[in-house]
Symmetry: C2
Subunit: 470 residues, 2 copies
């Protein structure tokens, strides 16, 4: 995998007529300054930046539509940009073009508390959304870690720690407003919680990473803030025990809100940084949502199940400050890991397998990391069979980077062999394109290409991502 892309960063090469039209229309919200372009040419991936030729800060669906129309008339690529927190090179302008930054489209359009739905502009972030709806007694559960925009979360089909209970963006997106490749505006779905009225356009855009259209408004489901929340933590002698405890918990029908796995490397990193004194063994963290009696019952049941799987040090807490202390381990894991090897960068990857295969997939991947002498940790949304590998590599050491990429490729092959997927929640971007064929086979990949060709016949929407054009 080449992290220095072959196409060099270009000078602003947009046609003069297009630049003039965009400047006339948008004034200072259109920019060709290098700093602005550079900022929009990177995400949280390992790739070197690849800036667009220009950036537009759009403020409405109609503005996005006008800009896309102008670009289409000049056959210039258009890339949607939210918070820049994607992990696989999703927003890199590999063919140049105009990046449309949606972060100023940050208005809550309509909260319908009785219906448990909200409609927002695509640039609203999940934390902003939860802050704005707090007084309604409702919350939006999808939490991918980063404070991503809702538009970005739609684009990557985001999920995160709460997905085991509340689902992913796939299950929680009701309706979208999308600007198509020709600048036309399409509304998909309604605020009805279910529908059998025709092809599911909404879910076709969810996970399409800006390659089929630019999402400008999003309607999502909300949930009542739970009456009570409790958290629990416990340690296991082995990864296998921890995963088996999770399988048993789910098979018992315990509706855990979150269940997170940290391997011993992750625990060690947190101990070093935060002096938590946790046993340096595989760890599970649980969160339960429900009534006072319900969360107590769930925690007790889980204590029983985990102790049947050799867990030790079971602790549980209902007071917010105590819960925060338990969850600090999880929340700080990423930064604690970065401290393990200062000056290095993290290659972060994920995959997802049927849960019965999870222990084996994690253990084989750990063995591979060990054999190759990498500094790494595995952290998982284990209730869904989804885990992340963070590998700390020296970006200037090409051999080490290649080792990490080879481990990633073998992990993906392993997951696919187990009837799993090459990415549970990070998305494809640039970095996982070569794995899609392996996962879906040539027929399904050809179908995806058919859709791309039909929706974006000039290949102008975030070109070169997800599926290759030919």
């Amino acid at each position: 995998m080449n992290h220095r892309l072959s196409t060099p960063p270009r000078d602003a090469t947009l046609p003069e007529a297009l630049v003039a039209a965009l400047e006339a229309m948008f004034g200072e919200r259109f920019s060709i300054r290098q700093a602005v372009r550079d900022h929009h040419g990177r995400d949280e991936s390992f790739y070197d930046p690849m800036p667009p030729d220009a950036v537009l800060y759009a403020q409405s669906t109609e503005e996005v539509a006008e800009a896309v129309k102008l670009c289409a008339s000049h056959e210039i690529p258009v890339i949607a940009y939210g918070a820049g927190t994607s992990l696989e090179g999703h927003v890199l302008a590999i063919n140049g073009g105009l990046t449309i930054d949606l972060s100023q489209m940050n208005q809550l359009v309509a909260l319908h508390a009785e219906d448990l739905t909200v409609t927002v502009q695509a640039g609203v972030t999940r934390k902003q959304l939860n802050a704005e709806i707090k007084d309604s007694g409702l919350f939006f559960p999808i939490d991918p870690g980063a404070d991503a925009t809702l538009g970005g979360m739609v684009a990557t089909r985001a999920s995160g720690t709460n997905a085991v209970r509340y689902g992913t963006m796939r299950e929680n997106t009701l309706a979208l407003t999308v600007v198509m490749a020709d600048g036309s505006i399409v509304k998909t779905g309604t605020r009805a919680r279910k529908s059998s009225a025709g092809y599911d356009l909404t879910r076709l855009f969810v996970g399409s990473e800006g390659t089929l259209g630019i999402v400008t408004e999003v309607s999502v489901k909300l949930y009542p803030q739970p009456e009570a929340i409790s958290a629990a933590i416990c340690s296991f002698p082995s990864t296998g025990d921890a995963v088996k405890a999770v399988i048993a918990t789910i098979q018992m029908g315990v509706a855990v809100a979150r269940v997170e796995f940290l391997d011993e490397n992750g625990v060690r990193a947190i101990n070093m940084r935060d002096k938590l004194g946790l046993p340096e063994q595989p760890l599970l963290l649980f969160e339960f949502h429900g009534s006072e009696a319900g969360v107590q019952e769930q925690a007790q049941l889980v204590q029983q199940i985990t102790s049947d799987h050799a867990a030790t040090g079971f602790e549980w807490a209902t007071r917010p400050e105590d819960r925060s202390r338990l969850w600090a381990a999880r929340h700080n894991a990423y930064f604690a890991l970065l401290h393990l090897r200062p000056g290095c960068r993290a290659i972060s990857t994920d995959c997802c397998v049927p849960i019965s295969q999870l222990a084996e997939c994690i253990l084989d991947t750990k063995a591979d990391c060990e054999k190759n002498g990498l500094v790494y940790s595995i952290i998982g949304h284990v209730g869904d069979g989804n885990f992340h590998v963070l590998m700390l590599v020296d970006p200037s050491d090409a051999a080490e980077v290649a080792k990490a990429e080879a481990i990633n490729a073998r992990m993906v092959a392993r997951a696919i062999d187990m009837d799993g997927t090459c990415t549970g929640e990070h998305g494809v971007g640039l970095h996982k394109m070569e794995f899609l064929k392996q996962e879906h086979g040539p027929e399904a990949l050809a179908l995806m290409r058919t859709i791309k060709h039909a929706f974006d016949p000039k290949n102008l929407l975030n070109p070169g991502k997800i599926v290759s054009w030919e």
Copy 2:
């Protein structure tokens, strides 16, 4: 709405070479007998039958692929047929062609109890599935009423009474095997519970009613059989009170497994047939799934909430026989209603709206039925905002049929005005095609047509359903 379709039933007009090839390949499982064709030319809709030219009983994905390939080479339409329980004319052979009956594809392919997934051939019915997996401690919750096949349930994006807790086929389908218009075989999805790996082909086929491909295998999520189940029933002075009680229940975060609404006409019909002696007022039926303590807590909470909304006669039960007695009202409603007007047939329609709009939508629809002097009842999966109208009409009375259709059209317009959908779970088939444009607008409808053209360029897969070709 014309229930006698303009195309007359045709004689077997398949090309001789095609008939010979299909006979050679499938022997007695290929049939052009009139009785077999007639049986496959109807569903549970109000339409007069429209038989295909021939019927094939397929036994494997490869057989379906071979048959589709043969038909494609002669440009002959192909219609997939499961249990024939669709409600909107989905399986009618309006352009003739070959119907492929999948009911002999009734094998459970693989149960993965630890993963809470099962893979079945498309002809397995939901009752068969639940009977076969009973000993695993798991169950498949989607219950559209009829004992439909899983393939048919995928095709119509089915849901039913349990959807408020467990979701619909949209949320519960993991992976599909699909035969495409050219006879190629595509596998979509994996058994991983979530994925961000490319376009969501699975959900594009879910709800596509056999117009984009023929589903031959289905992998779905399963759930642990609940430790305890309880049921409750209560009556309300008005529809508005009943719906408000449901909104409050859901906003309190009570995870009801089912909550069903019956209007006073439905209750009256059941009383007449089954001598239940229920108050002839709007009624709610609840079901709760969870631990012993959990279902008791939920039932108590719901008793409190419903009594705050003027409910009377609250009864709850945990023993299976008592639960069955309470739910008998709901289960027998359809047949009880048919008894209200012997010799008549039911026109059954559905729509779905944001729940805050549900009472108004139901009340306006009731008023319309009353004004037109129809015998009718409204029954709803009220937790989702989804309700059904059953209108009993004399099929020989064209004026009465027209009245019922006009009421249906006004109900749909009302639902769409409320940001709802023309069908929550029945699907589009023939009967709701004209409403799709109203709901989605010309741009989204054009996108659906783009997909149909790209996937089925010769318009051979269940032609003339969901979206018109031009």
